[in-house]
Subunit: 270 residues, 3 copies
């Protein structure tokens, strides 16, 4: 795992363009900013091209889409492909209904994505795989998530990150599992959205999106573990600000020390 990419991210301080879910946008913006990139959450179709051009990447979160946002999303995604800015998709709640699945699949059909990041249920839905899912939150279910994630990665020719107790990251061939985790993530509504946007920050600083998804997940998970370890009990509300604290304070050395993953040969800069 290329821990040094965290330093690269901070040195470059690229603009991370996010099409955001209004429920979690404040935490997402503060997370990006604390980490060391510069968030832009433009909503205006008229500036789509200008904003894409100055950005390092684009993250699309479909948590609370509506017609005008989908129009803007299409415009932004088209320019992102045109200007070679990597696209990250967070298919929030895609298991919760046919409309969400249709919206996601249309985007995936039309544009090249660098990474899809969702929980196991969301990844399974996009892979047309068997999974028991419930509503927006459910990453729990049964099925071989490694095979499901690989299937989606091959189908969409991109990196897939299936988050959960264990995070599975695959380019369709290689697989890395990350074991850092905290129960607090589930108690904070924006955790998944923030992880997707963290991946968005990292795909801007390397062409190796498989590597970017790994280091982003490791940084985010370790930051969350550190935040949780400083709490005397499960503080569902205080976790949000404290997670953002740690995204700013965390160093490449911290991630290297605390990240738990396999296979170990995935280490590059060791």
């Amino acid at each position: 795992m290329d821990f040094n990419l965290l330093n690269t991210l901070r040195e470059k301080n690229l603009i991370a363009f996010n099409i955001s879910n209004f429920v979690t946008v404040q935490d997402v913006a503060n997370g990006i900013n604390a980490l060391g990139s510069s968030p832009i959450m433009s909503q205006d179709k008229g500036e789509a091209e200008e904003m894409v051009k100055i950005s390092g990447s684009v993250t699309i979160n479909l948590g609370a889409f509506y017609d005008e946002q989908l129009e803007q999303t299409n415009s932004v995604a088209k320019f992102a492909n045109q200007y070679n800015k990597p696209l990250v998709l967070d298919p929030v709640g895609v298991g919760a209904g046919s409309r969400r699945k249709k919206v996601c699949n249309e985007l995936l059909d039309k544009y090249r994505f660098a990474v899809i990041r969702g929980n196991a249920g969301e990844i399974a839905t996009l892979a047309d795989a068997e999974w028991n899912t419930k509503g927006i939150d459910s990453g729990q279910g049964s099925g071989n998530i490694v095979e499901i994630a690989k299937k989606l990665a091959n189908k969409r020719n991109c990196v897939v990150c299936a988050s959960g107790k264990v995070d599975v990251i695959t380019d369709g061939n290689q697989v890395v599992k990350i074991f850092n985790e905290s129960n607090l993530f589930k108690l904070h509504v924006g955790s998944g959205d923030m992880l997707s946007s963290t991946i968005g920050c990292f795909v801007g600083v390397t062409d190796d999106y498989f590597e970017a998804a790994q280091i982003a997940t490791a940084v985010f998970d370790v930051a969350g573990e550190i935040a949780a370890s400083k709490m005397p009990e499960e503080l569902a509300g205080s976790f949000g600000p404290k997670l953002i604290d740690e995204l700013h304070l965390i160093t490449a050395a911290d991630v290297k020390q605390y990240a738990k993953y396999e296979p170990q040969e995935a280490i590059k800069n060791d």
Copy 2:
């Protein structure tokens, strides 16, 4: 008061569909999640029916409505009535102008609501009662709020919760008053919205909406009192995260121990 409903809520972990005020949506979502339900804040008309069907209830917050949201609200409310999902209305700032009053009354004319939750000024406005109100925040005024709340409950054939220093909850006939309170609630912009959504969570787990409004208010007020009691001074900003902390940590036993209300015969599971 049926304290055990808090355990039922957590066991069922239903989806709470919220049409939200963008000002407070993040706190509302985190409050619902910390309490033990699953928030969905869909904004898309095309998925209204699917989202209503998987939800336990629908809470409509009119704090910052706009034309497209009102269209979606009508669609969602229609499906909620059709599928027997209880509706909660928070008529934010309805005393602040004729437009807001018209919007609220049209919804109340067209759809069956389980509960209306507002401050005294908002409830008085909808009851066409005398009250001195100012802007969006003013729950202060003069008038017999018990009679005003009963009038609205009878007019709209639903439960009414008039929040304030004392919370008055009525089904139009019976009245319960809850006395737990903290000045911090007024210092945090989302408190009222969070209370309405808490009621939304509880109406999903019992058909007795009068009971649901009581226990929801007691849980929320006691959680706020506990959060405030842990502060050395009035921390207007820190109260938000800490209130969410307590919504997760609070138990049915805590609510039973600390809730102050009358009449005491309202106790069921004692």
Copy 3:
């Protein structure tokens, strides 16, 4: 500097109407409320006139505009001028593209503004002055910001506040510099938006907008310094709630004691 205006603001408790950036709206609303005004974030064109009439001022934040919001903004700005409610403009990210600049300049051409508040790069863009800017965040650059701010103030016949390490406030003739600062402001995404809305609160309580911009900036900066001074390290996420804490706790005496500014003869109520 008229420190007593903080007491006036709290006594009057006026409604501060804000056309908001959805990224930061929750912090902005809580900041206004904690300070002692009443935030309204109406999004509905149909209530524009009613909302303007009950408000003390209107703050327009262009951080994440879209077509419908621009329509509403024009309607609200027109009524604000008609009813003599002072207008504050925050031209977020105006240096980031031609579309943003066009949108801002059209508003400035059509309506009378009391105050424009931006970082140095944003102010330079509106003044058509030389400045090296990058994206949405960049207040860093080279150039004589005092002359640039004066140029814009004279061009638009309003007060200009160019925020940064040193805040420069000018009516086009007189200049006051405020030196209070904390690195934490940059680490919190909503800081600039909150400062603009704080100015919005103060222009509602005095006709002297130059004075209002000074005291607002001093109150906000000192509150931020106090919040930062209580932290053992740079807590990028915790700073948001703690800044809001201090906006409620701060007194006129605190501001008088800690504000660092020149010229000292700017003091009025000493």
